[in-house]
Structures are given as structure tokens and as C-alpha cells.
């Protein structure tokens, strides 16, 4: 899909051309990555990760200080390394991953993309996530929201996801289980 790479105003980015370019690269990466999940092209999705990928969804506790101060513990809903992500994908490709039989229909809405720090080799990117999940003939859907903090790294000329932390807006997970990629 064509990107309007010179339209800094539309992109909402400030600064010189390199900043704008990185913003577009980050945004393109995140959109493409979301598409791979929602289209269930998980092998292609895995190819967008580095070998050292760490994929975390920390548990949140309601605390008076609020904000990131609510992520004080070391408990996680998900804390995957490459082996674990690959195993999850392999599992989904069997016919016996019952939590995903029938498949959930996911829609990742990724927005508010901010490039926090960037070099030619590495980018730190924040974005907002709204994930809509529907399954079977259930008229009710689940919504999960949170902030992603990602580190993208250039590997052989292509950006790859090297580290992701999803800071959920939920203290109690409104799902019985996480069977989809958030």
C-alpha cells in the first residue's frame, strides 16, 4: 500500500525528514504486524520478530499512585520468549488448540504512534492498542485496550520487533483466557 511519506502534517510528526521517515516506518511496521495477526498469518508474523524477542503483558494492580505505578509486581499474563511464541503458533496450527476452535476474530486498532527514540539501527515506539475480539455466534465482544511500548531493531535491512510490553488498562482481565496475540 502506498504511503504518503512526505506528508509530515498528515502524519502528525514534527522535526526533520529523518524523523518523519522513521515515524512512517514505525507506523507501517505496526499496521503490517497487526494485519498478520488479524489475518492469522502467524508464520509471517513470527518473521517480523528478532530471535531475542521478549513479549510481555504485565499484570496490573489498582493502586493509589495510578499510572505505570500500578505495574509494580513481577506477575504477567504473558511473558514469552521466541521459543514460547513459536510454540504458541505451532499449537494454533494443530487441530486441538480448543480455546481457538472456533477461531477468535480479532481486530487490532493501532493508533497514536509515537517514536520515542530512534537511530538507524533501533527505534523505541509507543502506540495505543484497542483490540476487539469476537468468537462463535456470541453477539457480545471483548475489548482490550492498552499502551504498547516496542523496541524495533534493524536486522538485515528490515525492522523487526525485539521487545514489546503491553501495559493493559485492565487490572482484572475481562477474558477467561488469553488465546489470541495482543
Amino acid at each position: 500500500m502506498a504511503q504518503r511519506e512526505t506528508d509530515a502534517d498528515a502524519a502528525g510528526a514534527a522535526g526533520d525528514g529523518a524523523d518523519v521517515e522513521r515515524y512512517h516506518e514505525a507506523r507501517r511496521f505496526l499496521y503490517e504486524e497487526a494485519e498478520k495477526i488479524d489475518d492469522r498469518e502467524f508464520d509471517a508474523w513470527l518473521e517480523m520478530m528478532t530471535e531475542d524477542i521478549r513479549y510481555r503483558i504485565p499484570a496490573r494492580q489498582t493502586r493509589s499512585e495510578g499510572g505505570k505505578g500500578e505495574f509494580r509486581g513481577d506477575a504477567h499474563h504473558v511473558d514469552d520468549n521466541r521459543f514460547m511464541l513459536e510454540t504458541r503458533v505451532e499449537r494454533l496450527e494443530t487441530e486441538h488448540a480448543w480455546a481457538e476452535q472456533p477461531r477468535s476474530r480479532t481486530r487490532h486498532f493501532v493508533s497514536n504512534v509515537r517514536v520515542v527514540e530512534a537511530s538507524d539501527a533501533e527505534m523505541e515506539v509507543k502506540s495505543n492498542l484497542l483490540l476487539h475480539i469476537n468468537r462463535g455466534d456470541d453477539p457480545e465482544s471483548h475489548r482490550i485496550s492498552g499502551e504498547r511500548q516496542d523496541v524495533l531493531r534493524k536486522v538485515d535491512g528490515a525492522w523487526k520487533l525485539d521487545d514489546r510490553t503491553v501495559y493493559l488498562d485492565h487490572a482484572t482481565l475481562p477474558l477467561g483466557k488469553i488465546s489470541v496475540f495482543i
Binding site: A59, R63, D74, H76, H77, D79, W98
Partner: protein, 461 residues
Amino acid sequence: MSTQRSNVIDEWRAGMDEGLVPQGIFNDEELYELEMERIFAREWQFVGFTDEISDPGDYVVRPIGNKEYIVTRDEDGDVRILLNRCRHQGTPVCNVEAGNTSHFRCRYHGWTYDNEGDLIGVPHKDSAYGDDLDPDEMALEPIANYDTYEGMIFANPDPDAEPLEEFLGDFRWYMDFFTGTTDEGLYVTGPTRSIANLNWKMSLLNVVGDTYHGPTTHRSGFETGLIGPDTEQFGDLSEYKLHIACGPGALELARRPYIAGHRDEVKDTIRRNVSDDQWAVMADQGWTPNNCGLFPNVVMVNLSMKVAEDEKVPITMVQTFVPRGPSKTEVFSWVVNQKEAGKEHHEKAVQAATFTFGSGGTFLQDDIDIWSRVTESGEGPGPGGDDRDMKLTMKLDEEHVEEDPDFPGPGRVYGVEFSEENGRYYLDMVLDALGNGDAGADGAGTEADAGAEGDADTEAE
């Protein structure tokens, strides 16, 4: 009183001896109310670990039945469990889940309590009340009973409850395998919390002894190599297993030495903390209490799980399945470790536990999904045949249950590959606690309960 409900309990009671259990026990609303009254207002319940509130002023808020309690450590270092309810007009005095504070101030009219629960401040006391208010009579209501065992905090709202030690009884012999093999205490990670559309009994019924679901429910685990022949976990499904029913708990032992995967220093620690008999089981006989349920709603597991293709770690998890409605359950999940195992090992174990039996775990998600469907499909009334029973009939014939003469642990021990005996044992405990099930018209006393409650008092709090 509706007849629908007595039907469920009556049918349950009538069919239990034959292993026939109406599926309606997973979603019947009146049964749920009775469970709240007879079980969650009267029985010992696990609320958290002492390590979660290690410093004076630390607190967490936890559910007990349908009420919220503040579990805190006071300035003297003692654990306190206080109803989260201002004595003035019932406002919760604590509105977050965890933190550290020396006092709780009600946001409505400003009554202030210290963390022993004493009322220490009443705004405009003289002009509002003069001498009519005695602060000594207005402390935050403490839970009637609480106690700790091996770093686990248990609470019981019933003033006439038997002591925790008596409630746990011989079952402590097995609890040691989960939380009791340490001198320095436990690393505790968690809890994570998630809400699932299932009945709280569902998970316990499974974890006490349903090996039979493994090959089908967790088939993807075998297919991806997380468990199975090349691992220490469920290496050979046909292997001899021990099913044990003991006091308030029931469990399964897997043919895997408990001490396997632990460093030598940790093995030494374990050895120091267990009896000769327990050590024989963990080391010489090569058993691990793998999955275990403690009445009414605690799950404990010892597993060996992968963090990498060629690396496995022993993990210990404790979970509570807290009822939030007839077909809604909140899952609290902790990972624990002997401190002697080291922080690095603990972090690995937490990662492996999260990956397998956490809220996003590759195993638990299939369990949860199936339990939710069972809960849902039992909803009645509606069309269908007369058969609304679950068949917990496997190995109903006692002749098929053989005692293992070499096993030194307490309880009823039998070696068998697949059995639903522990599931029946667990549901029998639930039925016993419910009494005769005559909710509205109660007062005549429950029939011959095994419990120590001597009266038929039905008031909820």
C-alpha cells in the same frame, strides 16, 4: 421458594452415590446462594501469602464470599483481616487493591481507622455525637477467624469454625510439597486476576484427579512437545499414578521425583523441611504431587515445564477460583518458590508457569474454554431429554480401587491410571457442607454434616 433449585440439590444428593451429578450444579442461582451462605461464609478460604504483605502497613484487598476484606500487616507486624466497610454507613474504606498505609479514612464522612481496625478519628465528633458514640464499639469488623500455614493466609468468617490446623488435618502432609519445603520463606509472584464464564466447582472437580482429560483436552501440548514422551511431564500417560483423597483435599501424584530439577542446595533445604516418609516419596519412590485441589476452591500444582526447547524448570502454582456468580469465576493465580532456589530460578519458573497455566497459558486456556462451555450448556430449563446428569461413574466399583501398601502418606491412596473417585470425593465434600439444601425453610438443622459447625444458623454474616 422455587422448586427448580431444590430439584438440582435433591437430584444431586440422590444421584451422587451412583456418580450421577446434575449439570445444573454449575449454574443454578439458588444453589449458588446456598453455597455463599453455607460454604463461603463458613469454611476456611485461602486469601493470599504472608509475603504479599511483608512490611507493616502493607495491604491487599481480597474477596471472601461476596464481601471484600482488607488483608493487612499492622504496625506491630501482625496480620489483620478487616471487612472493607465503614461502620458508619457501610462505605468501603479502601478503594484500591494493594498498597501501604497506616490508616484507612472513609471518603464519605471521614471516619478514620488505624490498620488494626480501631476507629481513631471521627470528624466533628463532639458536635455530631457528643458522648453518644463509643469508638471502641465501632472498629472495622475483623474476620472471625484467620490463621497461616506455611506462608499461606487462610480466613474463615464463621466464629464457630474449627481451627485451621484441624481443618487441614492430615492434608498438611501433602501441602508441604507445595509451600513447605523452605527455611527462608517463599518468593511469591502474583496474583494475576482474570474473569471466566464458568462455575467455581468446575476447576476443582478437574484438578483433584481428572487425568482422563489430559490426552484429549491437552492434545496440543503433546503435539507441540511441551509435554509427553520427551519431557518429564506426563512422559507416559499409561504409567501408574497415585490418586489420594485426604481430609479436605484430593490430589494426584505423577511418576516424577519431586526433587528433580532442583539444585543440590535446594535439595538439601527440601530434605531439612520434610519427614523421612515425605523424603522417601519425593526422592526414593520418585513421586511428585502434581495436581491438587483443597476444598472449597484452592488449586495447587507442581509441574515441570519448558522455558526453552532444551530447558525445563520445576514450577509451583497456587490458584483460587473465587465465585463471582453462578457461572462466573475470578481466577487468582500465584507462582511460588523456595527462596533458596534463587531469584533467577524463580523468574524462570514464573515465566514457565505463565506460559502454561497462567491466564494466557497454553494449557489453562483450553481448560477454561471447555469448563466455560460445560457451565453454559448445563443451563436449564429447556428442551432436551431427561438426562441432565454428568457421569462421574468411572471406577465407581470399589473393587477396582487398590490401596498402595508401600506408600507412607496419609489418606486413601490408590494406584490407578484413570479414575473419577477423587472428583466424587470432592463433590461429596461440597454436598456435605451444603447440608440438607433446604435453603429458605432451613432452621431445623442440617443433617449429619461432617463439619464442626454445631448449629443451623443461616444468617449470612
